[in-house]
Symmetry: C2
Subunit: 401 residues, 2 copies
Amino acid sequence: MKFTLVHTDQSSDKSKARAGLLETDHGVIETPIFMPVGTLGDVKAMEHRELIEAGAQIILGNTYHLYLRPGTDIIKKAGGLHKFIGWNKPMLTDSGGYQVFSLSQLRKLSQEGVKFQSHIDGSKHFFRPEDVVDIQRKLGSDICMVLDECPPYPCSHEYASRSNRLTMEWAERCKIQFEKTKPLYGHSQTLFPIVQGSVFEDIRLQSAEELVKMDFEGYAIGGVSVGEPKEDVYNIARMNCNVLPQSKPRYLMGVGTPEDILECIERGVDMFDCVMPTRNARNGTLFTTYGKITIRNASYSDDFQPIDENCDCYTCRNFTRAYVRHLSSIQEIVGHQLTTIHNIHFYLWLTREARKQILNNTYSEFKTNLLAKYEENEKSRGLGKQKKVKRIPKDYETSGK
Amino acid sequence: MKFTLVHTDQSSDKSKARAGLLETDHGVIETPIFMPVGTLGDVKAMEHRELIEAGAQIILGNTYHLYLRPGTDIIKKAGGLHKFIGWNKPMLTDSGGYQVFSLSQLRKLSQEGVKFQSHIDGSKHFFRPEDVVDIQRKLGSDICMVLDECPPYPCSHEYASRSNRLTMEWAERCKIQFEKTKPLYGHSQTLFPIVQGSVFEDIRLQSAEELVKMDFEGYAIGGVSVGEPKEDVYNIARMNCNVLPQSKPRYLMGVGTPEDILECIERGVDMFDCVMPTRNARNGTLFTTYGKITIRNASYSDDFQPIDENCDCYTCRNFTRAYVRHLSSIQEIVGHQLTTIHNIHFYLWLTREARKQILNNTYSEFKTNLLAKYEENEKSRGLGKQKKVKRIPKDYETSGK
């Protein structure tokens, strides 16, 4: 993998927004980038060709889920995850750690690894750091992730520190295993470690510095989107980006709203993933250039405009709010398809547009204008600016945190 | 509407298979044709553009469902059903009668019409024959259907005869109302009556002859696929096609399996609709050129061939049985999308290919060969040839019967 920092935005003193190029054997990714979450080998309610149409350059897979179903052996037999799911562009897989902690039953953590029971059938499994590397070798993802522990929020300084120690040890063990093993399918793979440390600046810095010393090709910032205030997320992104090397990509795991993404791009983040656009789509919450709307509201029942007239997705080009509202309200599968297409299209437009503005040194203005529209829209909906993020995913579409 | 009988198959003495052209203001339909069922204004798990890609020339809408949700007023405000759902090709709507009988609670039949409670919220409604014409005027479907009573199977000769009497009266009243009213959206509409009479030849013939006298532009054959043996369906199709005018299209409602469609094309039927390809897709049953398969079977878990190598649908061009099995087994929405795309593609291939063979005077051979493969496949699966058809739809995707 090769990362090239193409340009850093000059639109304001504080902006550290970056445009980069991330080259993998499955293609080049233009950063900043949003990565749709393809939990079980598919992005929920969206066909691969529709992801391509929306401009997707890389998607996620969840090691925990794929390990349980269809199982690593079948994927290996298929020739890896790309072949198994028929996706020829880059893929990132997480380590499965987050799902073990959020979904599985009776998990038991030790220095050696984590023992857990499947949320599907109660079967018992054990993930050592070495195992998740081996599994990801079999999956053949372009970017693999180390096993980490994601501390809950809130947690004590002592807990966060102890947890980070384990995460550091596991990162080291993953790296050793990664270097001891080889890609199985003829394309190269890389391994990203995960900075932890909860909201504590000293641990965050120590965690980042220690991982930088180990020398990886890219770094993830984890442990956010677990219930902490938005400002903490932005601070964590700022603190960590300040110490992570300029020459390597930074991936903020599980973030977030359009506002979060814009704020964290400004702080120097290059890569994002979140289930929000897909999960919210299936609940009828749509993201637009003028704010967030709840398409199931009765007010849209005879509204024959497109969802967003600035959007050129299949849904907005062909259908009205009234039709989408009708299908979404009655939980028709096509309703989920049309809303998902729109939301993913919007998220990919957002990072694509951000990149354009960075290259043009106009990022800060772009961010300010779009956020003003979001804030105005939230106010007119009678909502405060801050909304609490759910700690535990409600279904099995889980981001790479 | 204009129907042109282009050619009658000469491949065998008994074949009455026809190729025709059905011209509507929304486009020309080449018959024989399968019409995908778009219950609530969408074909379940399939986008309009995917229907076009599969070769769909006309889709169905269900008056009962659309009347309840989103309601006729919203559709009228949108400028009719075509505009509301964004579908510019021909549409057929049923009368809602079948759903009143199969889905709604506390229905009460009288000569005047049928009183029923919504299956959604228990609200009370009354459909007179005149009402269903008025509703379909508001929907603006290219082909409207009369209100009829579909007798259960089995039923007595007396019941079937009495029921057919009511169906005849209602057909007359619908025709009068249809002639008294005008299309609302600038395109023309036509009205098809429905031949009834259960499995009784004398009533079937009487019903057909009486409707022919009333002079419609096309005729539907109803009251089948309600639990009777397959041979009865074929007999009914044969009996009714023999007395319906050569110069008018014949629509067999709610039929059926690929075998049923081929048998009934041979007996002179031009139009078909059935929820089977879409509903079965969501249960993992797929139709192919070599028979029916249950994709969720464990044997497909590491089968990396396409579902049907003779098929050029999106699913077969890009994905393996193993991947489709994985997604279908875990009920992923994309699994439903991929299986539905394949099944609809297959059904539309089937009627398109049938037309080609008719024009080529090779229909009988084509039918015999394909049915032989199906029979062989069923035998190898250890199933008998005959399978009972479910009487009552299990969910709200209901065909135009």
